[in-house]
Amino acid sequence: MRAENERPVYMDHAATTPVRPEVFAAMVPYFSRFFGNPSSLYTFARESREAVEEARGRVAAAIGAEPAEIYFTAGGTESDNWAIKGASAAHRRGGGHIITSSVEHHAVLHTCQHLERQGFSVTYLPVDGYGRVDPGAVADAITDRTCLISVMSANNEIGTVQPVAELGKIAREHAIPFHTDAVQAIGSVPVDVDVMNVDLLSLSAHKFYGPKGIGALYIRNGTEIENLIHGGAQERKMRAGTENLPGIIGLGKAIELAAADIEGYTRRIGGMRDRLLAGILDAVPDVALNGHPEMRLANNLNISFRYVEGEAILLLLDAHGICVSTGSACSSGSGEMSHVLTAIGLAPEMARGAVRLTLGDANTDDDIDYVLDVLPRVIERLRSISPLAPPCGDREGT
């Protein structure tokens, strides 16, 4: 076992990432030195104002938008809430109908459920065994009351990338605003609001080595949307509240870095990821990869280990200093089964044995070796306790 004081092997980059040193360095001056309120008129606040606009430009550039289409929020969740509540209220026709998928993040799903209680109806589209939404199903679900379509760019649990451009095209043909939760996609897949045909796009800095507590909502020019947070005139009267200055600077820097190196990053991370997967498949019997074999985020592995339970795996790996998650970090500890794994049709015993390993900057080839050493032993150990696992000799592959 590794020494207590060694750094953990962090394989939960989909939950959150460390702030990159360059990003942190860019933020530092704005806490105590150039701390002026960007809305203030004096020259001292000009530094703040200009830095905010520069960051806005960086976010816009990273996703192919205009700076005036970027609005800063407190994170992916607020962006999702704003997009869905704000656009569906502004575009409501009759009772109001929203189309989304059954594999969305809770920030989307719980918001939709809230709107159901307010009188909206919501179609939660099924997905195939890989977690993909069928564009044909979206087209079929559209009614003349449909006021918003929201489908994520890439899934946070199983990494499946959705055919967003196709979905957006259908939405556009029906003149229905289209939102995508791109929180997991930024930095891992090219994101361009025009190519993707999206009108609204959510992103969150801490998923791509920026700070926590800051995100943005892209709102295409001309897309009607009601405010979510009322108050002062910040963000062109669309999102009230004193600007999170260092956060905004950090978001701008982080997205610039992330967008500049998608290819290099995914090659690096994807290479390690592939070796990790091959090693696990090789060493551990009775496992299955969840999600799409190719159309998935380069950093994501979601693997079901039959006969054992995910949380138990997580805890034993943690005892070896390895950080992974079961399902999304948010639902950890709730004991509920992942709605995503259920949606892709996983049998309960496979869904419960799922573990997510998401790689990133923090990882090295040594980490892969280390996990490939520890993980098979952990699974073996838990299976030896499990009443479901066949006795050793009977198992496939051993």
Partner: protein, 150 residues
């Protein structure tokens, strides 16, 4: 989220395995989350002299199973029967609220194994029907009256 004792029982569960010549064996399944526990008892003169378990489930389920085996070893069947989930949770020094239901598994498995022993010996099964502690706790309504009030 778990305390050190729970983690210790999770990482180093006591009394894991099967008893080839068990005097009673029982299995419990949680309908809600799919946890499974198998329990094997060696019983001599109404006293549990040895015990083994196998559990499929989360950390709380494994730790509850492990500590429950420690709690009933050396106990009479009567004492073991009335071991409640509260006793298990208390012995572990507490479980997160969302995880308390996992400890019901051990209680159920113990009762199943005891009834298996009784059946093997031609004795009538004990009641585990509604109204017992096991049930009220499983329903998580916090209304368990404790054994003395039953």
């Amino acid at each position: 989220m778990y305390n050190e004792l729970v983690m210790d029982h999770m990482l180093n569960p006591r009394n894991v395995g099967e008893l080839a010549d068990a005097d009673g064996a029982g299995e419990a399944r949680s309908a809600s989350c799919g946890d499974v526990m198998k329990l094997y008892l060696a019983i001599d003169d109404g006293v549990i002299t040895d015990v083994r378990f196998q559990t499929y489930g989360c950390g709380a389920a494994i730790a509850s199973s492990s500590i429950a085996t420690e709690l009933i070893r050396g106990k009479t069947l009567d004492e073991a029967w009335y071991l409640s989930t509260h006793d298990v949770v208390n012995a572990l020094g507490g479980l997160p609220e969302a995880k308390e239901h996992c400890s019901v598994l051990a209680e159920d498995a113990i009762r199943a194994a005891i009834n298996d022993y009784l059946a093997r010996n031609g004795l009538p099964a004990r009641e585990t029907a509604a109204g017992t502690c096991s049930d009220c706790c499983r329903h998580d309504d916090g209304s368990c009256p404790g054994p003395e009030k039953r």
